[in-house]
């Protein structure tokens, strides 16, 4: 596949757009359909697309396994950390009202943070699962 010049150029052009689209889905989730989960899937899809065109090793060089594994964990920690922050600021767990002086702003901040947590974990996990499945050699028959 690596010899298809057109494919490579198109891919290089398309992947940034996919990432931008992911960000759009992430932030537009407040107003239209979308959110962290869907955006995470798109981010993972962009890297998977890259892997399909340039090969799995190239993708693993660009987004290494260790980073992906850390992302999986980080997302959950961001979500949980937002919850703990609510507790430290005098509210209940996942209480966004106390995150800012203005309760509505607090809600905004809270929703933004947890959606970011979802994005990070989901993109990490989806990518990791792809790496693991694609990286596994097929068993010789018999």
């Amino acid at each position: 596949m690596r010899d298809f010049f057109v494919l490579r150029v198109v891919a290089k052009m398309l992947i940034p757009f996919m990432l931008i689209f992911a960000l759009y889905v992430q932030f537009h989730g407040d107003f239209g359909p979308g959110g962290g989960f869907q955006a995470g899937v798109i981010v993972a899809a962009a890297v998977i697309f890259y892997a399909l065109i340039f090969g799995l090793p190239a993708a693993r060089l660009l987004v290494p396994d260790a980073l992906v594994e850390s992302m999986m964990a980080l997302g959950v920690l961001i979500y949980g950390g937002t919850g703990i922050a609510g507790m430290l600021l005098g509210g209940n767990f996942l209480d966004y009202f106390v995150l800012s002086a203005n309760p509505v702003t607090g809600q905004h901040v809270g929703i933004f943070l947890v959606e970011a947590g979802v994005l990070v974990t989901v993109s990490g996990v989806m990518l990791k699962i792809f790496y693991v499945f694609a990286g596994r050699a097929k068993l010789p028959p018999g």
Binding site: L74, V76, G80, G83, G86, L88, G91, N92, F93, L94
Partner: protein, 491 residues
């Protein structure tokens, strides 16, 4: 952070420790964090239990959204008691796990094992402490998915098939549960258990409620391995790593049973007069069948882990029998047996897991002469086994006694006969171990007792089986109060 946050810290501490372990990628740090997080959960559970003794109910609105709009954590004496069981077993098993994991799991997966263990723990705790039927489903899935992986980490290839079988049946069970939730939600418009109990009385048509009851019962019975839906349990427990078998045998099925009891009395009890339903009769018949059939299979088993697994199916029958009697003594027996059987099985699986590592298997022939080679382990297996039979002086006796009282009160003399018969069968299968361990010539020479790291937790658990048979103020006191609470909700 003050005591008011205990209900949520209980779940969130182990849950967040899991990603931390994945960040550190170290088996040793993973183990330390697992032990610490389990201990924190246990401390929270004890703190909660002290507060709710005497009828106080703690409600915690997550996100500061009042129920039923937000998700509520609600602790009363019943679930505080179950929380202590789950986190207590987790604490002791997590100490034991260190040695078990080093010998049974490839070293590059140790930290993943501990992360999974903590996720499974937080899933079970989350199911117990929440007052929201959909939230139960989410945490049920956390505990199930991690449970499948933990079982599949077993050393033999059979573990893979056992895990797959459990995944299929477990997912069907969870989906049945969610269908039941759907019916209840469509007729009540709420997901909060307390709110639902209030609104279900106004539901005009009883058909969706009955369907919900049927689906939730079947779904949770699959997860709780209630006879005849226990197909996944023996192969799963006998092939999983030792620490996993001990943890799950002590907690996983118990939590599903707790959810069943909570919904049966807390939601459906308010709508349907329990005596009018054939459900309780059916449950009682199935329980007795479980007690007899599964015990009989256990007597025939040649592998000690499978024997114990079938014994679990039989002992779950005792719990559901207590539920089906639906009187004060019956429910007391059911609740107290959640605890008594949980600790006995956790002790047994820890001991047998250690023996299997030393002797290279746990078929009864392999265990021959274990009484000489591994005297303390063998002795503890016998003691915990006595608790399974229900010999006076062990925790198991307390359950049996109350079950018999409850059956007598209900005038079900045949049930008492069944309890007696099942106890005899239990004596028979425990005797099979005694025969192998003490009256057969040893096959292995130079085998030594397992290391302290494995033995000490197992011994502590065994001592607990005796202690809670002698001093029942904690267990029976809590169970009595819980039974009153459950029956109070029905009236």
């Amino acid at each position: 952070m003050s005591a008011e946050h205990l209900p949520v810290l209980l779940v969130v501490v182990p849950l967040l420790a899991a990603p931390l372990i994945v960040l550190f990628r170290s088996g040793r740090a993973g183990w330390l964090l697992a032990v610490l997080a389990s201990m924190v959960s246990l401390a929270c559970a004890i703190g909660l239990f002290v507060q709710v003794r005497g009828g106080t109910v703690i409600s915690y609105a997550i996100g500061n959204w009042a129920p039923p709009w937000g998700i509520e954590y609600r602790v009363d004496v019943l679930n505080a008691f179950v929380l202590i069981l789950v986190s207590g077993v987790a604490t002791i098993v997590s100490v034991y796990a260190r040695t078990s994991v080093i010998s049974e799991v490839p070293s590059d997966r140790h930290y993943l094992f501990y992360a999974m263990f903590l996720l499974c723990l937080s899933g079970l705790l989350g199911m117990t402490v929440t007052d929201d039927v959909f939230n139960i489903f989410v945490f049920l899935e956390i505990s199930s998915l991690s449970g499948y992986v933990l079982i599949a980490l077993g050393r033999e290839r059979r573990a893979l098939h056992a895990a797959f079988q459990y995944l299929i049946l477990g997912t069907i069970g969870a989906t049945f549960y969610i269908i039941g939730v759907g019916f209840l939600y469509l007729v009540t418009g709420t997901l909060n258990i307390v709110d639902m109990a209030g609104r279900i009385q106004a539901v005009a048509d009883h058909r969706p409620v009955l369907a919900a009851l049927a689906f939730m019962t079947v779904g949770l019975s699959l997860k709780a391995a209630l006879f005849p839906l226990h197909a996944w349990l023996p192969s799963a427990y006998s092939t999983a790593p030792g620490a996993v078998a001990a943890f799950m045998a002590g907690t996983a099925t118990k939590v599903s049973l707790y959810v069943f009891i909570r919904l049966l009395f807390g939601v459906f009890g308010a709508r349907l007069v329990l005596q009018d339903l054939p459900l309780l009769e059916a449950l009682s018949l199935l329980s007795i069948a479980a007690m007899l059939v599964a015990s009989l299979v256990a007597v025939m088993e040649k592998d000690l882990k499978r024997l114990l697994a079938y014994s679990s199916v039989a002992q779950i029958g005792y719990i559901t029998l207590g539920v089906s009697l639906a009187n004060q003594d019956g429910l007391t027996a059911a609740v107290v047996h959640l605890f008594n059987h949980g600790i006995a099985k956790a002790a047994l699986f820890m001991l047998v897991g250690g023996a299997a590592l030393r002797l290279g298997g746990c078929r009864l022939e392999v265990l021959a002469g274990m009484g000489q080679r591994m005297p303390l382990s063998a002795f503890c297996i016998v003691i915990a086994g006595l608790s399974l039979i229900g010999v006076p002086g062990t925790a198991g006796f307390i359950t049996k006694w109350h079950l018999v009282l409850a059956a007598a009160e209900a005038g079900q003399w045949l049930t008492i006969v069944a309890i007696g018969a099942s106890s005899l069968l239990a004596a028979a299968y425990v005797w099979r171990f005694v025969e192998a361990a003490y009256f057969t010539a040893p096959r292995h020479h130079g085998v030594q007792e397992v290391s302290v790291g494995m033995l000490a937790p197992a011994v502590i658990m065994t001592v607990a089986c005796v202690y809670f048979g002698l001093d029942t103020s904690f267990t029976l006191g809590a169970a009595r109060e819980a039974a009153e609470l459950l029956l109070g909700a029905v009236k």
